[in-house]
Amino acid sequence: MEKSAYFKGRLLPYLLLVPQLVITFLFFYWPASQALWQSFLREDAFGLSSDFIGLENYQTLFAQPEYYKSMLTTAVFSSLVAVLSLSIALLFATQADKNLKAAPAFKTFMIWPYAVAPAVAGVLWIFMFHPSLGTLARPLRAMGFDWNPLLNGDHAMALVVMAAVWKQISYNFLFFLAGLQAIPKSVIEAGAIDGAGPMRRFWTIVFPLLSPTTFFLLVVNVVYVFFDTFGIIDAVSGGGPAGATTTMVYKVYADGRLGGDLGGSAAQSVVLMVIVIAMTAIQFRYVERRVQY
């Protein structure tokens, strides 16, 4: 017996959709169109004068070698952060999923870093790793390792990656743990009875069954590294030294807010928006095929 209810009027379904549509329009389409419009303008910092200059902002942007460098930096930074935070979180989650005595405490501690604001996380890491004031940097230097994120771009990159990964592990951990707990124990036990070792059980049973979670986290993490790591970079390195940690979103901020070049900054946001939309589309088109729901 099939039960289905339907409404006669056409108005009601649309009315029910209105709140969702209004929110999407207000918080996505409207700001996005503003950014697009602003990218065709040249304004002074105070917004007192504005001229329509067509594509000039884009031309200037793509003529800057620094812009391509920031794209490369973003690629390096985002792959490092996404891969590290996902794999470390997965490792922790599989360990916490075992029948341990202290598992609840362990789980709680793992979630804490997520409650720390990005800028505060950045400050914490600076306290530990400032070349001459940092509590962990001094022993490093005493051991003869010339740790200097103020001048060495690779060190600065390592530092922002560590801070960004540290911040994101909790979130990934939480989802992985939930994903692991949803896997029926019977499947794993059946594997064990058939003689599969723990590693083999993980890669042939657990990992494939976890793929919807992994895929979801991949998408979320990419968006995280592209946009939300800005506060960490600002607090830890300010995009330096010599632009070594200037990712695309940090450059949007630096040029727009610090430099007062709103048109150029808007043009960069539009480019960034296009890239992220394209990447998400690719993920859904190609990676999702391999996900087993």
Binding site: F46, L48, S132, L150, N152, L258
Partner: protein, 437 residues
């Protein structure tokens, strides 16, 4: 450090929220960027002014570093809720000046409010910076400073350096001795990298930073700081960075803590560091004029000022402007200025305050505070040492710092870095020229 200020700001905010005014007092918001000891001075000034009369209440808020404060002000203006008074550092001057309509010039403010105001009472070396070519004062100088070389006398003595170095070669020698005596992570260093090695360095050696009198005579200026002298100086720093005889200290003033902690015994930074040094340095310290290259004819010339001035934002009510004018008169008071100068290390802005401090014999006991004044008035300023006024300077300083960092990290030669800094800076100047009409 940042956390401490956050705490302070938070306490302040709570206090303000709790202390709701009993009767109608006109509140005047003052956004500032003063940290450490100078933050306390700002709050004390506001308290004193509020206690001195009952009509107005100045509410200071700490808004982060200089660049943050300025950007917060600009963003607030665009959103229609700018503060009445905003402290803007000297490199933001060109941007503020060109924003006619967003600001209320100080000379007009004082005239409209009928407040007694004589621009001649202020030190011309300072007000010249903040005035139009006709001598109309646009902003109110608050904390003016110059760059000096801070010296840890105890450590120098230990390292066997008997005289305070005067020239760059002497500084390099002293730094090598310090390094040999155990300062192996830092012979000498500095804060505000571009201010030290490009801006002040150029003025002090009477070479141009840019054409058109470093931009004071027009926005169609071009940068010139890739001269052989600049290249030579940067090359020296690159060589010394290799073994940390010189150790780069970052773009803003965070590196100052390395002087206070005793790590770096020779440190170039603002004379306004005095307020913090007095509180944190547990050793005998002093300040000396910036070093120079003795083979440059005419060096040392004179230094240029840094620090910040107070800009009054446009679009406020007349009675609010009256309060701001009264506050400025309050700040100009000779005794208050003299005291402010003696406590904070920032320069006195009125001639009378300077004379009074001299007459009190203050400088004999505290020669530290006279160093920046001596530097500023060392010689009659030239085209190259009057000051500088470049649009989008905040962004430009970051570009310059990026190039200096690349050079010090060994990724570029001194010449390549400075050429790139000039080329990238010029592009920004051209973009600014188009928006500033």
């Amino acid at each position: 450090m940042a956390l401490r200020h956050f705490g302070l700001a938070a306490t302040l905010a709570t206090t303000l929220a709790l202390a709701s005014p009993a009767h109608a007092v006109t509140e005047l918001n003052w956004w500032h960027a003063m940290t450490g000891g100078n933050n306390d001075i700002v709050n004390k000034l506001a308290d004193e002014f509020n206690a001195s009369q009952s009509e107005y209440k100045v509410v200071p808020s700490f808004k982060g570093g200089y660049a943050d404060t300025m950007n917060a002000g600009i963003a607030a203006f665009r959103a229609g809720n700018a503060p009445h008074i905003i402290q803007v550092f000297e490199v933001g001057t060109a941007t503020m000046m060109s924003a006619t309509g967003a600001i209320k010039p100080v000379y007009k403010l004082m005239a409209d409010a009928g407040e007694k105001f004589d621009p001649k009472a202020y030190l011309p070396a300072i007000t010249g910076y903040y005035s139009t070519s006709k001598g109309e004062m646009l902003s109110f100088p608050f904390n003016s400073s110059s760059m000096v070389m801070w010296i840890n006398k105890d450590e120098l003595k230990k390292a066997g350096v008997t005289d305070i170095p005067k020239t760059w070669p002497e500084v390099f020698d002293a730094a090598k001795k310090l390094k040999a005596a155990g300062h192996d992570t830092c012979g000498f260093s500095n804060a505000w990298a571009t201010w030290a090695h490009i801006e002040q360095f150029s003025a002090w050696h009477n070479v141009a930073i840019g054409t058109k009198g470093n931009g004071l005579d027009g926005f169609d200026t071009e940068l010139k700081f890739n001269s052989p002298l600049h290249v030579k100086h940067l090359q020296n720093l690159i060589d010394l960075q290799k073994d940390k005889t010189y150790d780069y200290g970052g773009r803003a003033n965070a590196g100052e803590a390395r002087f206070g902690s005793g790590e770096c015994a020779i440190f170039l930074t603002s004379s306004g560091y005095y307020g913090t040094a007095k509180g944190t340095a547990k050793f005998d310290f002093t300040s000396a004029p910036m070093p120079y290259y003795p083979d440059v004819a005419g060096a040392p010339q004179n230094s240029i000022i840094g620090g910040a001035s107070l800009w009054v934002m446009g679009g406020k009510k007349p009675e609010e402007y009256k309060g701001v004018a009264k506050f400025f008169t309050f700040l100009s008071d000779t005794n208050r200025q003299a005291k402010l100068h003696q406590e904070s290390g920032y320069l006195p802005i009125t001639k009378a305050a300077y004379e009074k401090t001299k007459a009190d014999g203050f400088y004999e006991k505290n020669p530290v505070l006279q160093t920046p004044l001596k530097e500023l008035t060392n010689k009659e300023p030239t085209e190259n040492s009057r000051g500088l006024r470049f649009g989008n300077m905040v962004q430009m300083r970051d570009l310059w710092a990026e190039e200096i960092e690349a050079a010090l990290a060994g990724k570029k030669t001194a010449k390549e870095a400075l050429d790139a800094a000039v080329a990238r800076g010029d592009a920004i100047l051209r973009a600014f020229e188009k928006t500033a009409k």
